[in-house]
Symmetry: C2
């Protein structure tokens, strides 16, 4: 989906080890491959949801970046955004092909997430080039943080794919450089973009809640029914880590979070 990208990897390996005694049969999933893990129909359904959400997220990101390319002030900037859009599309292809490979119809897997993602993009249509850059950066980073957290609890095959499609498309560096330069030139821009980033975070959280409420298998996996060491307290800590990372990124952009 690449709502966002971060260089901080989740540091929850210690936490997982702590809870390993009580969830021994679940901890096993991260050590299993897909063939073995997917025997459990609930785990399988959760992964299909996850891949479907990621796949549609990539396709929506492609569209959003292609749209933002139109706002680019120069041909070089336009080409840079088009490049990111093309990269998102290739991530989409890998996820779609994986769904087909495991015998799922990609469209059916994606459809449950169309409304939430389209809703997010509709509510947060950037009104200029800088808002587009901040959205791409903040959004990609938050989504990437979230999927990396989840990935640590997946079977080895699914984890490898998820981490591969979260691989940085060069977005972050580009956005940080352009946004910082704009704030240096006119500090008032910083205030406006800080408000914008807060709105993005709020909208992302509200759409995520909607998805979690709708998708049983996925949310059960998140709160610990299926995958490794994910209990409600752990979900709370995960959200804290994501929020902290967001705050650090805003500071890197020169914005108050």
């Amino acid at each position: 989906m690449r709502f966002m990208t971060t260089s901080d990897k989740p540091e929850n390996s210690a936490a997982t080890a702590d809870t390993a005694d009580t969830t021994a049969e679940v901890t096993g999933i991260a050590a299993q491959d897909w063939d073995r893990a997917s025997v459990d129909p609930q785990y399988r359904a959760a992964v299909v949801d996850l891949l479907g959400a990621l796949a549609y997220g990539e396709l929506a990101a492609f569209e959003r970046l292609a749209e933002d390319a139109k706002l680019a002030p120069t041909l070089v900037d336009k080409a840079e955004l088009a490049k990111m859009a093309a990269a998102e599309f290739h991530h989409f292809e890998r996820l779609r092909d994986r769904l087909t490979e495991i015998g799922e119809e990609p469209t059916r897997a994606m459809e449950p997430f169309v409304d939430a993602l389209d809703g997010f993009h509709k509510q947060t249509a950037p009104s200029d080039w800088l808002e587009g850059l901040v959205k791409a950066y903040v959004g990609d980073s938050i989504a990437s943080d979230f999927y990396r957290e989840v990935a640590a609890h997946l079977d080895a095959d699914t984890r490898g794919l998820v981490l591969a499609v979260l691989d940085d498309t060069g977005h972050a560096g580009f956005a940080v450089e352009k946004v910082r330069a704009a704030i240096d030139e006119d500090p008032r821009v910083g205030g406006r973009l800080a408000l914008w980033a807060r709105r993005l975070m709020g909208e992302a959280l509200s759409q995520s809640q909607r998805v979690v409420a709708d998708r049983d298998a996925l949310s059960t996996m998140l709160v610990g029914g299926v995958a490794d060491g994910f209990d409600l307290a752990e979900v709370g800590r995960m959200f804290s880590r994501i929020t902290e990372a967001h705050t650090k990124r805003m500071a890197a952009l020169g914005l108050a979070a």
Copy 2:
């Protein structure tokens, strides 16, 4: 640029042979490589124009296809258009990199063609999915016919690159299948789309004239000053061939041209 694609290769090798006696020193260019051909500053300027026009055409095609993907009735159709858009972007990258390789600034080479291409896309914004498909097919095909004709008269290195980026992105088959199905379902659609295709052809010709009038080196190459066997009569025959190919493609779509 991929305004268009055709399976008909230009059949002007005979014509070139006929005029070979009078333009012997020019005929040589097709047999030369870039290093030798580009010693002539006027030939060099014409090729830079050509690569610049093609490069911006690909970038504009990327944007147009990404935009049309929003009109897609299904996720599968959306993904298909996004795939074509990504392919156009990769063509753009090859052209931009080639401009850099021969010591030209890509943005400077593209800029003279921005207004004409943006103008074309602005005047021909599709109002629905089928108009978008017809535009992509007709436009790509006409542009491809034109560049293939020109390619036959270029040095070997430039020709190879131009033919590579004109390589079919799967557009044609996809558009023909979808448009024919829509006409089968409701024959009135055929009349509307035939008018639309005529408008596209008219707008493409008027923007091409604008470019040719503005760009001395490029138009001199086209009318025979620089490259092989391209005199005014030959340009007339080229336009006839392109128009004939367009008529055949319209028939394949089930439309009167």
